[in-house]
Amino acid sequence: MTNRHLAAADTSDLALWSALRRHTQARIGLGRAGSALPTRHRLELQAAHAAARDAVHSPFDPGAVAAALPGMPMIRVRSAAPDRLTYLQRPDLGRRLNAADRAHLPRDAWDVVFVVADGLSSRAVHDHAAVVVRETASRLPAWRFAPVVLAEQARVALGDDIAHAMGARLSVVLIGERPGMSAADSLGAYLTHAPVPGVTTDADRNCLSNIRPPLGLSYETAARKLAALMGRARELGRTGVELKDETDHGDVRKRLL
């Protein structure tokens, strides 16, 4: 009986919900099979989840990033987390370089080091990182760039260890963000002035998130914002809340994202 009711209303319902979907990407008006989701929507959700899971577990391919940045010197490193399983459970290891790699990093008076880090979505890094590095660097012709460091099993704070070891005044970590079902390829950029491992905190950083054209931030906007932030960080001699006031007392869920 309820199905007949649905069928009778079907055409106008479809029109209503498709009009409402202009206002939100939320999965509204999905209809029902008994109490459950119709098969199509159940499978669509599983497909989105699979894309996000694959993004988390796809291996990082530093060679692909290097190939997209011809002419730029590159160094490959790994964190102290030996594999993905350990990486996911031990953020402390993902924040530390493994000792052998640290010893091979060239030390000099670099203005900035770009760290391209897999984070939670290597897909985001493969798709977006090289262009952001190129476009940002091209806006700062007078800067002295360290070799780009390609980091595997990396958390944001691994950039502290790298910049500190290399003597760089600023680190810019481009990292794959935690994938959502509606966005599995989002890249974040974290700026930190003169980081010191174990001393620098998240409050000392500036962040640009959701770099993900065409639905998120465009390369052009990301590079322009990054270059401006980097310039101001150099003038101020610091990054973090004092560079751009972001005092956010949001709820636990947002704070911990």
Partner: protein, 464 residues
């Protein structure tokens, strides 16, 4: 500080404090390992449980896991402990307490009377000796009933939070998701939005939107925009339609400080919202969220395991007679709860501990995409928590929250749970659903998506 010892498999184990013993007795979870608090082996874990089973409950009053001088949550726990209520179990050990909880003597009335006599550490301790089925069986008997415009927590009822989040707080997008949830019979616990920003102006706009929908259709429910408590206080002073005051809370003073809250601030907000008194069938006006891992994430756990410190957050919550408390159980990520198995266990522990302490416990049954979990884990958790008598669950469109980027239960999941367990919505809301034509003759939610339905006027106006 005392030393606790036990011998198992020819090994002698020694635990240097009650906090170390509790941590070692906890089931395996990634957060305790990360904090360096987990048992060093499976055998050490069971040895810790043997030792814990012999600890008298009264010992927890004598040896706080975080010193009284260092932490206002400890002071709250100690200073508000009700010795008279505690008397019936005062001579029991943790092991004996487990057995008593599982008997018929521990019924709804005796559990309710006992709640003010229990401390978070006592309920955390006994939960560590319990299996998942024990946690369900005991929590099911404990009933906590609260009310504002709807009544939450009655036997045979399951309420839902309708969560219509939007990444830019777009009012039309939020309203469309509210319509979707209402048509699926959701929203009797609260219609609650996590705003994308904490700006008072944006929060007020959302509050007015929800207040408008609730008034227009005379829905017996309450709204909440989950902003920081200081934003709510500010908005109440300026006459915004605040039904419930929300705050995330944690189990230590330092972790609460990382959320920008103190007990003093919460006291102030509580007084302000009580003075508004916008409820009709009750006066519980606070809404708290918690979740294992937040104290560790804020580096504010004082060497206490993540489940015990989570239970301490409930001591903060119960000071304010909340309408709703929920643990956002799988939200933070696999470094705290690695997979579906760990998330399920934590969900059952949190629900059990909250109920025993006298709280109206609900859950955000959820996971992130970097945890090893999927929609089958949601179904398993929902079913067990439904049997355990959870007061409410959080529901999102299609189970996908597009603002917070995580997966939760869906409105459909709540329909499933009500159907298989014979659970009904909050009575006032159920009556409204009938009045507005959303119930079929069997009392289930009708499969109405028809444009002729009065509620869809919201949708037609948005679509126009």
């Amino acid at each position: 500080m005392s030393t606790y010892t036990s011998t198992l498999g020819g090994h002698h184990y020694r635990f240097d404090s009650l906090a170390r013993l509790l941590a070692a007795a906890s089931p395996e979870r990634s957060g305790d390992r990360l904090a360096g608090l987990a048992a060093e082996s499976a055998q050490a874990r069971v040895a810790a449980r043997w030792a814990l089973a012999e600890v008298p409950l009264a010992r927890f009053l004598a040896e706080p896991v975080i010193p009284y001088e260092d932490d206002d949550v400890t002071r709250l726990i100690v200073d508000t402990h009700d010795a008279l209520a505690f008397a019936p179990v005062a001579r029991m050990t943790v092991g004996e307490f487990r057995e008593w909880l599982l008997t018929d003597a521990a019924d709804a009335a005796s559990l309710a009377a006992l709640a003010p006599g229990l401390t978070p550490e006592m309920v955390a301790a006994v939960s560590k000796l319990m299996g998942n089925a024990d946690l369900v069986a005991v929590a099911r008997k404990a009933r906590v009933v609260t009310a504002f415009r709807s009544t939450v927590g009655l036997p045979g009822r399951l309420a839902t939070r309708l969560q219509p989040n939007h990444p830019t707080d777009d009012p039309a997008g939020v309203a469309a998701a509210v319509l979707d949830g209402l048509l699926l019979g959701s929203g009797d616990a609260v219609i609650g939005i996590n705003p994308a920003t904490d700006s008072p102006k944006a929060v007020r706009e959302l509050l007015e939107l929800l207040d408008g929908v609730i008034r227009r259709y005379a829905i017996p429910t309450q709204s909440c925009v989950l902003c920081h408590v200081t934003t709510s206080v500010d908005l109440m002073e300026r006459g915004a339609p605040v039904d419930l005051v929300f705050q995330s809370v944690a189990g230590t003073q330092a972790a609460n400080a990382s959320f920008g809250v103190t007990l003093g601030l919460l006291d102030e907000a509580y007084d302000a919202v009580r003075a508004l008194d916008r409820g009709t069938v009750g006066h519980n006006a606070m809404y708290f969220e918690t979740g294992q891992g937040s104290a560790l994430s804020a580096d504010a756990h004082h060497g206490v395991d993540q489940q015990t410190v989570e239970a301490r957050a409930y001591a903060v919550a119960r000071r304010y007679d909340p309408l709703l408390v929920n643990t956002v159980v799988g939200f933070i990520g696999p470094e705290y709860l690695y997979d579906g198995r760990q998330i399920l266990r934590a969900a059952l522990e949190d629900h059990f501990c909250g109920k025993l302490l006298g709280l109206p416990m609900g859950l955000d049954i959820c996971y992130t995409n970097h945890a090893d979990a999927d929609d089958d884990d949601i179904a398993t958790m929902l079913t067990m928590l439904g049997v355990a008598g959870a007061s409410f669950v959080i529901c999102t469109p299609g189970g996908d929250d597009i603002m917070l980027n995580y997966q939760s239960a869906s409105y459909h999941d709540a329909l499933y749970l009500r159907e298989v367990l014979g659970l009904r919505p909050a009575p006032e809301f159920e009556e409204w659903l009938g009045r507005i034509g959303l119930l079929d003759e069997g009392g289930a939610i009708r499969d109405v998506t028809g444009t002729g339905h009065p509620l869809t006027a919201i949708g037609r106006e948005l679509a126009a």
